[in-house]
Amino acid sequence: MSSHAPLLQFALLSGFVLAITLAMLIAACERPLRRLLVRQAPKQRARLIWWLLVTPALAGIGYMVVTIAMPSVLHDSAKFAAACSAHSDSLWHLCVWHPSENGEVTWLWAVLALLMGYAAWLVARAARSVWRVRQTLVTMLRLSRRSGHADNRLHVVDVEQPLAFACGIGRGHVVLSQSLLDRLDAMQLRVVLAHEQAHLKHRDVFWRLIAVILSGIHLPGVRRRLLRDQELALEQRCDFVAAAAVGCPVIVAEAIVAVEKIFRHHAIQRMPLSMAFLSDFVPERVQALLSPDRESTSHLGSLLGFAVVMFCSLSAGWLHHFTESLIALLAW
């Protein structure tokens, strides 16, 4: 193998093209997809939306890795080497993913470097922001006091604003403000705690952080709507967990309205890196709790997953030709 550079260039470009293509496909199918998703149970909906958010980026990265790793993994395989005899004198690779014979395009490297640099800058900026907010939350937790509740992850903070949120991407913590504690009755407090503990149990903050980072490839409007749908699904899922804990969804609906009444007289912003009990989905959450049970037996997730895998597999050849043509065109 004379050089890895053309293969790397091909891998980066094809991965990027695949990610963009999938993002565009999701954007084109957004309306019907969201209509189908609304009919799903919150748990399944949350999972499906998460996959919709991350699939383009994951598929692109996966494709890049496979394109780069496969030839080296199969380096000594005569079978595969024979399969790509057209280029075996210059590069070892699987035929369906072979890079252009024209080799690399110098200025395309500059474009790819620019794209990679931009992505790295976005990630670094995001990491810095997350780190700073984390520091603030850590300081808040250090200044909080333990509630004496059986769950030692429960912290109480002395602030006038009513607060109730789950935070942390590891084991996590639930933070409640004393002012909210003073205004909730025992049953409402049970609901709030069960809801927040459900967020911790499912590591919602962590998975949402991943979704937010990897969904950067989507069109801004599609991304915003999907993230919003995901947030609603997560809140509704935790409402149903709380309903199971207290034994009645109506009690949870009552607690949501009661907490909304407390919150509406105070600052209405929510904490970052956290999942707050109060969100701006009060009507949707209450109505979901009061509607008849929806036990979903849908195979939508499996179908969508199968469709994505099929698309990626079938597009290997197409993507290969397209990327080769693109490189050839740019080199021309």
Partner: protein
């Protein structure tokens, strides 16, 4: 005073365990010099007077303590109450996402809540009441 900051208009700086212990001590006792704080906080943690002094200095520079020279030593007192500091921590975290240039990543975690209006809330309460009545009927 060089290096001195007021907490106003600044994000609340991160605080370590010792800094919080010292701050809590000052909140409890209103004002103290380094030796007194060391006697109460430092000895328990087996740390030197110098460490306590530099912690007090750091808290002063972060704008969380104020100080006054009494004889040869500084007398430290709190510049913000516990509740005020906590409120500022909440504001500080929220401002990063709800400010004039909200961070793109963190904005995804935060929506300025479009609250349910009074009518909507009333309708929801009626809905809940109807459902509650239905459940009560069934139970009877």
């Amino acid at each position: 005073m060089p290096g001195f900051k007021t907490l106003k208009n600044l994000d609340v700086p991160p605080l370590g365990d010792l800094e919080i212990a010292v701050l809590e001590d000052i909140w409890r006792h209103e004002s103290s010099d380094a030796k007194t704080v060391h006697a109460r906080v430092g000895r328990l943690r087996s740390i030197s007077l110098n460490t306590v002094q530099s912690t007090l200095e750091r808290l002063f520079r972060k704008g969380l303590l104020q100080r006054e020279k009494v004889s040869h030593a500084y007398e430290y007192s709190s510049a913000v109450s516990r509740q005020e500091l906590m409120s500022r921590l909440v504001e500080s975290a929220v401002r990063r996402v709800a400010g004039p240039q909200p961070d793109a990543l963190l904005s995804a975690f935060v929506e300025i809540a479009a609250r349910a209006d009074d009518d909507q809330l009333r309708r929801l309460e009626e809905l809940i009441a109807r459902r509650r009545a239905k459940i009560d009927e069934t139970d009877l």
